[in-house]
């Protein structure tokens, strides 16, 4: 039986977070930090004041990567670790879209680590939100690239031996031009960082501490665990890269939250691309003119 087609209704008046509610309800575990990230993103989209169709939400694979299904924008639920590459191509095809990439720490820092570094270096105009829960949740609880030393998981029953990577410090040194960390419990700050990240012309990155209530031994107490460890960045100059790095390397009980680094001096890669001066390539006429073709052949003679 063919499914009955759904009729899309345009947003009436100023958008609200409700207008960005997806057709499917999240299948995340009750209490998961990701709910707050989803709400914050819906708020940030609404605040931007555009239509649903002006946004593209791209994810990889993992618990948090199911997010595009729970939000009403165009969405791509791509391969594990490849969301940034897909989003880069999408942004180049239509740079007028607001392209937001969401995913988890395994997806972004593990299997997608190479794309993470290079997309930041490219400084393409994307917002990348990583729901960092320091575990592989969907595969039922193995160590991730951000799992702390000594932690016992299904894949490290005798304790994790490997040093976790520091995504915020990586972002600062890799060339991201908007770098923040947030805690999913503070939805207000998160939505504000997301909104500002969308407004930023360049690669914006937010590492969100989004605790897993299922595979961490603390269970629901994981939020208390994090509350003891986080502090808000205070009297920090976000244009000072060295200062940003000094704050970023603080971990454990000194984990800093807020905007670490914001560089408005660099043009984004898509702004530097002269081909885009005539508007999105997705809207350009296809092919080349006979004159252009003749000139090409002339150079081959």
């Amino acid at each position: 039986m063919a499914r009955r087609a759904r009729r899309e209704r345009p947003i009436q008046g100023a958008p609200t977070a409700r207008d960005f509610k997806g057709d499917v309800n999240p299948d995340w575990c009750a209490g998961c930090g990701d709910f707050s990230v989803l709400n914050s993103l819906q708020n940030a989209y609404a605040k931007l004041g555009k239509g649903n169709h002006d946004h593209l939400t791209v994810s990889g694979i993992g618990c948090s990567s199911n997010l595009p299904g729970y939000i009403k924008t165009y969405g791509m639920h791509t391969l594990h670790g490849r969301a940034l590459a897909v989003a880069t191509g999408a942004k180049f095809a239509n740079h007028e879209l607001n392209v937001v990439v969401t995913g988890g720490d395994g997806d972004g820092y593990g299997i997608g680590g190479n794309h993470f570094i290079h997309t930041m270096r490219k400084n393409i105009d994307l917002l990348y939100i990583v729901m960092n829960n320091e575990t592989y949740g969907l595969t039922v609880g193995q160590a991730s690239p951000t799992t702390i030393v000594g932690e016992q998981t299904k894949s490290t029953p005798f304790g994790n031996l490997e040093t976790p990577l520091n995504p915020v410090a990586m972002a600062i040194v890799s060339g991201a031009t908007y770098v923040a960390r947030a805690f999913s419990s503070d939805g207000k700050q998160l939505a504000e960082l997301m909104y500002n990240g969308m407004q930023h012309k360049g690669f914006a990155f937010i590492d969100v501490i989004s605790p897993c209530v299922t595979w961490k031994k603390e269970k629901m107490k994981i939020f208390d665990y994090w509350k003891e460890r986080v502090q808000s960045l205070e009297s920090h100059d976000t244009s000072d890269k060295a200062a940003a790095l000094a704050q970023a390397v603080k971990t454990g009980h000194e984990t800093q939250l807020g905007l670490f680094y914001h560089d408005t001096s660099r043009q984004s890669l898509n702004e530097m691309e002269p081909v885009l001066e005539n508007g999105p390539i997705a809207h350009q006429p296809l092919g080349i003119t006979q004159e252009q073709g003749d000139a090409i052949v002339q150079r081959m003679m």
């Binding site: 499914r3 169709h53 299904g69 969405g75 639920h77 239509n94 794309h115 997705a282 296809l286 092919g287």
Partner: protein, 594 residues
């Protein structure tokens, strides 16, 4: 007008200007209106090693580098020693007498020593103009006008080096040309101008040009021999043509960027070789699952693994056929000539846009790095462009939209992001008509079956549009040569040579490889005589594929896997041997070793 078929080869160390000499000689012949096909045997080194470039020049069209070499330009001592035996009787060898202690000896060819120092007074020990001197001698021997050579020197050097270098090179060219006129005997074959003057380019260039004509707006690549020529054409030409070119961190990024751009409405393409293609595999399946039209070019080199970076092979057929997990619609095409490489790209884009699936072009070094001449007007810069059922504007539907709507054709209209009122999520997890995931807790076997059948129904539409191969040559033949992709030119010539010596031979050649129409192909194969499958790999990948698709079992096989492309006589000798012996496999011996 006299008919002739002549080959000039240039041997030397990389960095000695072999490519420049080869390009110049080829361009001069093209300006003369002569047909050219070139092949360069080289190694994966930046400096050092040895390269050997063959330029086949003919009054008639040529589609391979031929069997014989009439004239060799030996830029170094190594080339003299190595290639002396490769000059055909009656031919000539040009060398620098300063390079050799003992002059080479062969009494059935003309030996043409020159002295670089005497001709140029160039104090530079690097002898940068040696390639110009020797090319001038060669061109004098075949009756090319010195003025055309001078034109080419100006064209090649003026922008890069300035007037002083141009003047020195022209002086060297004149001195060498005059020296040859005084000291050497010209060939009986003297090149004559034909109309029209021709253009000259490589398979990689023509595939890139085909992409531009097809409306490619986004091209991404990671450098990998022998596919890099496409990137090197795209990068300098893209801005003027409105194409975005990105070099990525790896091939995984390349193909995923292409998928992102294609989904968002741009025609997008990428190219790589076997190793890069392996990295792209998972994403090619994702384009099948999300139903996003992309074109991926695999320019094969010798495998397995890093293999032979600068050598040719048709060894990736099974990799491409089997790329990525699961079943999904896909198209595999293998261009049959350099010019066919141009036409294949717009043809494939129309198919992948219509059927919303990945399309793969399977070619190889021999075609991609081979160069050919072509009639300038023969390029169709305005090929048909059909984007299929694409929704780019509000109002194209009545607002009721299912991205993966179940249809009889399996094709569901595709809305691109940014289009109002057609929001949807595309997913690499399997999904229902609306894009909702049917994996995880929602797994539903009936929905899964429906959507799998919908996707696969597209294959029925694709196969109807792919022309089956035809029987070329006499219907009534003793031997039928069967090949695929790049080997069309060499097999075609071998069939003619065999027919000329009394073994009537025809030829069946496959361009569209997958999906294959079993009945249509069997009908053509039913006309085959003693059937010999010719391919450039060890295990007979195409023979096994053809047997799997059609049940057809060939009588014999000619296979080459030494890295060098077939020459016509390899196929001729193989066919004769297979006809006269009880064996069913012939592996030709490669005479020219570089």
């Amino acid at each position: 007008m006299a008919k002739y078929d002549f080959a000039i080869a240039v041997g030397g160390a990389p960095g000695q200007g072999i490519e420049t000499a080869g390009k110049s000689i080829s361009q001069i012949c093209a300006r003369y209106g002569l047909n050219v096909f070139t092949y360069t045997a080289y190694q994966s080194l930046i400096r050092g090693g040895h390269s050997f470039l063959t330029i086949r020049i003919s009054s008639e069209p040529v589609a391979n580098h031929g069997d014989k070499i009439d004239l060799i330009i030996a830029l170094d001592a190594n080339s003299v020693e190595k290639h002396l035996p490769h000059v055909a009787p009656g031919g000539a060898l040009i060398y620098n007498s300063e390079h050799v202690k003992e002059p080479p000896t062969r009494d059935d060819i003309q030996l043409c020593p020159i002295s670089y120092k005497e001709l140029t007074n160039d104090p530079d020990r690097k002898a940068r103009m040696l390639n110009v001197c020797m090319s001038s001698v060669a061109l004098q021997l075949v009756g090319i006008d010195l003025a055309v050579l001078e034109e080419i020197i100006v064209l090649a050097l003026l922008k890069r080096t300035g007037q002083a270098v141009v003047d020195a090179n022209i002086a060297a060219a004149r001195a060498s040309y005059d020296y040859a006129a005084e000291h050497f005997t010209p060939f009986d074959v003297q090149f004559e101008r034909q109309d029209p003057p021709l253009a000259f380019g490589s398979g990689n260039m023509l595939m890139a040009m085909g992409g531009a004509a097809a409306g490619v707006k986004f091209y991404a690549a990671y450098p990998m021999s022998p596919s890099t020529g496409i990137l090197h054409w795209m990068a300098p030409n893209a801005r003027d043509l409105g194409i975005i070119v990105r070099q990525c961190e790896d091939e995984i990024s390349v193909v995923n960027m292409v998928i992102g751009a294609a989904h968002t409405g741009a025609r997008a393409m990428c190219a790589t070789s076997g190793g890069g293609f392996a990295l792209m595999s998972e994403a090619i399946g994702s384009a099948g699952m999300m139903e996003i039209p992309i074109v991926v070019v695999n320019v094969q080199r010798g495998g397995p693994s890093t293999g032979l970076p600068t050598k040719t092979e048709q060894g990736d057929l099974w990799q491409v056929l089997g790329a990525s997990q699961g079943d999904f619609p896909k198209i595999v095409v293998s261009p049959t000539s350099i010019m066919d490489g141009f036409n294949t790209i717009p043809e494939l884009f129309n198919l992948v846009d219509k059927f919303q699936c990945p399309g793969m072009v399977l070619t190889d070094l021999s075609l991609a790095e081979g160069h050919t001449t072509f009639v300038p007007d023969s390029i169709n810069w305005q090929p048909k462009i059909d984007r299929g059922e694409l929704i780019t504007e509000q109002g194209q539907t009545d607002g009721e939209y299912l991205r993966y709507q179940i249809t009889d054709s399996g094709i569901s209209p595709r809305a691109i992001p940014g289009t109002p009122e057609h929001m949807h999520v595309v997913a690499t997890d399997d999904h229902d008509e609306d894009g909702g995931l049917i994996s995880d807790e929602f797994t539903n076997p009936h929905k899964r079956r429906d959507i799998m059948e919908k996707r696969q129904r597209k294959m029925e539409g694709i196969v109807e549009l792919l022309p089956p191969p035809t029987l070329e040559g006499p219907e009534d033949a003793e031997v039928t040569l069967i090949g695929w992709g790049s080997t069309h030119g060499v097999i075609d010539e071998a069939a003619q040579l065999l027919t000329e010596v009394g073994i009537a031979t025809n030829h069946i050649h496959f361009k569209w490889l997958y999906p294959m129409d079993e009945d249509a192909v069997n009908e053509v194969l039913s006309k085959a005589a003693h059937a010999i499958i010719v391919e450039c790999n060890y295990t007979g990948q195409f023979a096994r594929f053809l047997r799997g698709e059609t049940g057809f079992k060939a009588d014999g096989h000619i296979r080459k896997y030494d890295g060098e492309p077939f020459m016509p006589h390899h196929v001729v000798d193989g066919a004769r041997e297979l006809l006269n012996s009880k064996t069913d496999l012939y592996v030709p011996y490669q005479e020219i070793v570089v």
